[in-house]
């Protein structure tokens, strides 16, 4: 019953129509839907959002309401965004483990 180590965390319960959005995670192509927040988009594809910068661990967000600041993710262009308040956009390039600079 235990989920595979790299299985996505989130599970879409309410399917809806609308355009797909293509983005990348550590260079690998990934798909989401228009209206997905970046947090949703990543966690429908991966088990975590980012590495924890103060220890050997990953993080996947916590409060989903812009309070805990656990979900700031790094983009390949060097930008940092709070994933629970940012919509996923076509061409976004998210770095989780692919970021050597951390």
């Amino acid at each position: 019953m235990t989920a595979a180590a790299d299985a996505p965390l989130f599970h879409r319960l309410a399917s809806r129509a609308g355009p797909l959005v293509s983005f990348t995670i550590d260079g690998a192509p990934a798909t989401a839907q228009a209206g997905d927040l970046l947090m949703t988009a990543i966690l429908l594809n991966r088990p975590a959002l980012r590495r924890f910068e103060f220890g050997e661990a990953h993080r996947a967000g916590f409060c989903f309401m812009a309070a805990c600041q656990d979900c700031w993710v790094t983009l390949a262009d060097g930008g940092r965004v709070r994933a629970c308040t940012t919509l996923v956009r076509n061409g976004m390039a998210v770095l989780i483990d692919g970021d050597a600079r951390v």
Binding site: L9, D36, A48, H58, A60, C63, M65, A67, C68, T85
Partner: protein, 454 residues
């Protein structure tokens, strides 16, 4: 003479009702919310592209949600809505704001703070594992995005959100494997009479418990020693029952939190006096029944100054607007004032019963081990806190913060602040109010500074 500038922070039920009341009286309030769409937490709207029918998102509350959402479209230009705008500081009659990277100021004559609440958090083994969210976070995933936090979800906590969120998940088709209440059932029974006399939105969860709509989920009350198992991701939730027997359920996500805490940093920065509320076991800005704070120019409504739930937030929003109108010399409908005051008094009674039903789970804080992460922002442990209390004489949380950085991370103590105070109190053997409260500091949330984020 030009109209006074009334600024409102928070477009949840409280701030929206306040704005509506002011606009209908002919003023044009400036309404800030860092969210793009109005509604606040309970009536949170999905972002553009993720819309679904209101009944699917808000269930029994769909009518109320619709009414609250209709306020801004109905009043149009009569409310100056500044969506997507963070208020990160209050200073000498002025708000500091940030919208999409652009900084600005907003002077005000009167300020209404309706900043709402978030889940109250207590650390337990495994609580920082990816896949563990607050109950509110689990609910927002569902409401705003139509997703569940996992495929097999366990919920644990205290307070009315626990059965409510579990029910919402089950109804949406998620597999809920456990609903575990850290409160002994006896406490709930004691207050049940008070609650049934005055059902409110916040207590809908109890209604759902009674409906027993959760299928095969494990259900238990009075659970202790909760712990999430799994390396790198959630594999199981384990607990001890009231007789000391161990239990365990396989799952891949957990929703966990223990009541709500007010979002009160801006009130602090505005210079409002705070008092300890024994009922909800937290510090809150002092608020009179008419919504006045200790400061003449600052007013308080909704969960940001004490937890009351959504219905109370709407009443308080309306009430505080009437107080402001009176102060700026506008006519006020006295019958409406009386009606709101008696409705709020009834709710307060009910609220006391509800809090009584969910006493603070002190056993969980007492069980926090030294190596447990307390500050999830920077990974500082409970042991680090105990060490400075014991050996450096740090008797209250602001001293602890200076020594350990607990409460200084990106969340500014929103997540760890309560538990930190409880741990200091336990270590010192003093009441938790003597452990102090973390002082608010600008910016209340991260803002871009040269070369990065503060």
């Amino acid at each position: 003479m030009s109209d006074p500038v009334i600024a409102i922070v928070g477009a949840g039920p409280a701030g929206l009702r306040a704005a509506e009341t002011l606009a209908l009286a002919g003023l044009r309030p400036v309404l800030f919310d860092e969210a793009e769409r109005p509604g606040g937490q309970i009536y949170r709207q999905p972002p553009p592209g993720a819309e679904r029918p209101g009944a699917a998102i808000y269930g029994l509350e769909a009518g109320k949600a619709q009414a609250v959402h209709a306020i801004l479209p109905t009043l149009g230009e009569r409310i100056d809505h500044r969506a997507g705008t963070l208020v990160w500081n209050v200073f000498e009659g002025r708000l500091d704001t940030l919208r999409a990277g652009a900084f600005a100021h907003q002077p005000f004559d009167r300020l209404i703070l309706a900043t709402g609440a978030m889940d109250r958090v207590i650390p337990f083994p495994g609580w920082t594992t990816p896949g563990v969210f607050t109950l509110g976070g689990a609910q927002i995933a569902l409401k705003a995005q139509g997703v569940s936090i996992g495929r097999r979800v366990a919920f644990v906590g205290a307070g009315p959100l626990l059965p409510l969120v579990a029910h919402q998940y089950a109804k949406a088709g998620a597999e809920v494997v456990a609903v575990l209440d850290v409160t002994p059932f006896g406490a709930k029974l004691r207050s049940a009479a008070g609650m049934l006399a005055q059902p409110s939105t916040l207590a809908k969860g109890l209604y759902y418990v009674a409906r027993n709509a959760l299928g095969r989920a494990r259900r238990a009350s009075g659970v202790r020693a909760i712990r999430v198992e799994g390396e790198g991701r959630v594999a199981a939730l384990a607990w001890t029952d009231h007789k000391g027997a161990e239990h365990r359920v396989a799952c891949d996500a957990v929703g966990a939190s223990f009541g709500l805490r007010s979002e009160s940093q801006l009130a602090d920065l505005a210079g409002c006096t705070f008092a300890f509320d024994a009922l909800t076991r937290q510090w809150a800005p002092v608020r009179a029944p008419d919504g006045r704070s200790s400061r003449e120019d600052v007013f308080l409504a909704g969960d940001g100054a004490g937890i009351g739930g959504a219905d109370v937030a709407e009443l308080q929003g309306r009430r505080v607007a009437l107080t402001v109108l009176q102060d700026v010399g506008r006519p006020v409908d006295v019958a409406e004032v009386a009606r709101l005051d008696s409705a709020l008094a009834r709710q307060a009674q009910f609220r006391a019963a509800l809090e009584g039903a969910y006493p603070y789970p002190e056993h969980l804080v007492a069980a926090v081990a030294d190596d447990e992460i307390l500050c999830r922002c920077e990974g500082v442990t409970a042991g680090a806190l105990r060490d400075v209390v014991r050996h450096k004489g740090a008797a209250e949380v602001n001293r602890v913060k200076a020594f350990t950085r607990i409460g200084m991370g990106r969340c500014q103590g929103r997540v760890c602040g309560h538990a930190a105070a409880e741990l200091v109190a336990l270590e010192r053997g003093c009441p938790v109010e003597d452990a102090g409260r973390l002082r608010g500091q600008p910016p209340v949330k991260p803002i871009p500074v040269l070369g990065g984020f503060s």
